[in-house]
């Protein structure tokens, strides 16, 4: 059936993760940064699933499930925070949210 080597999937996940990192660093919109985090999570999930497939162990899938659940919770809270920030600082630019410093 599936003949694609697992390493392909792994490399793909690596690439996606890297792109997620780049996005995280270069996006200025808080929401976009948030999304880049999600992207990274997805990349990790892909790696999990790939490994699960390779070793024929389902634990990896369980991990993915948990990751997804946690991500959902995280997004719920995170977006609430984003809304609060947007209301307070009248901006979504992460660089306007820089009060927490020396």
């Amino acid at each position: 059936m599936n003949l694609v080597p697992v390493s392909y999937y792994l490399v793909l996940s690596a690439i996606l993760f890297g792109l997620g990192v780049i996005a995280f660093i270069f996006k200025r919109n808080i929401i976009a940064i948030f999304m880049s985090i999600e992207l990274m999570l997805n990349a990790v999930n892909l790696a999990f699933v790939a490994f699960a497939r390779q070793w024929n162990e389902l634990d990896g899938l369980v991990f993915v499930l948990f990751v997804i659940v946690v991500a959902a919770a995280e997004v719920a809270v995170g977006l609430a925070i984003v809304i609060t920030i947007a209301h307070n600082r009248r901006s979504l630019n992460v660089e306007d949210v820089n009060l927490l410093k020396f």
Binding site: F34, L39, T84
Partner: protein, 166 residues
């Protein structure tokens, strides 16, 4: 070039395309759409990996719920085009090279890792979903409950944060 390869490369290409679009597009909603694209592509890849349940959950939760939330918030806040500001020198000069290095490292890591040589081995269970459920509710039942509590807390937190607006 057999069908699975074609499918894989199409989906992978879509995923990467989506990721790139997420970076380059300056309209948050476009970023969201491209991210949805990535997720759907990944869902299909999960299917090809025999994790259909995960694929479905991926689409339902990520594409169907989480991203909806994103889009919703974007619409709510009417987030406009993100303006160009260069305040973070660190990000500007060190960020990209570092990220690229990291990407290469991980890629090389996975590529060279002993798993790379052989293809997917073994055949999946007759009912992977069933097996998964057993695993989830037997071995991982405690983490499962923990996550449920986590979600509850998250709901409360979101409510509190949102309420403060009034």
């Amino acid at each position: 070039m057999s069908l699975p390869f074609i499918l894989f490369f199409v989906c992978a290409g879509l995923a990467i395309l989506g990721a790139v679009l997420l970076i380059v597009s300056r309209e948050p909603i476009h970023s969201a759409l491209s991210l949805i694209l990535v997720m759907v592509a990944l869902a299909i890849l999960y299917l090809t990996l025999g994790a259909e349940f995960i694929a479905a959950v991926q689409v339902i939760v990520y594409a169907g719920a989480i991203m909806v939330l994103f889009v919703f918030v974007i619409m709510l806040l009417n987030a406009g085009v993100e303006e160009r500001t260069n305040w973070s020198q660190m990000a500007k000069y060190a960020g990209l090279p570092l990220a690229v290095v990291l990407l290469l490292e991980i890629a090389q890591w996975f590529w060279r890792s002993p798993t790379s040589a052989r293809a997917v081995n073994g055949t999946p269970e007759a009912h992977p979903t069933h097996a998964l459920s057993v695993l989830l509710f037997r071995q991982y039942v405690f983490p499962f409950e923990a996550t449920s509590i986590l979600i509850l807390i998250a709901i409360l937190g979101a409510l509190v944060l949102a309420k403060r607006q009034e």
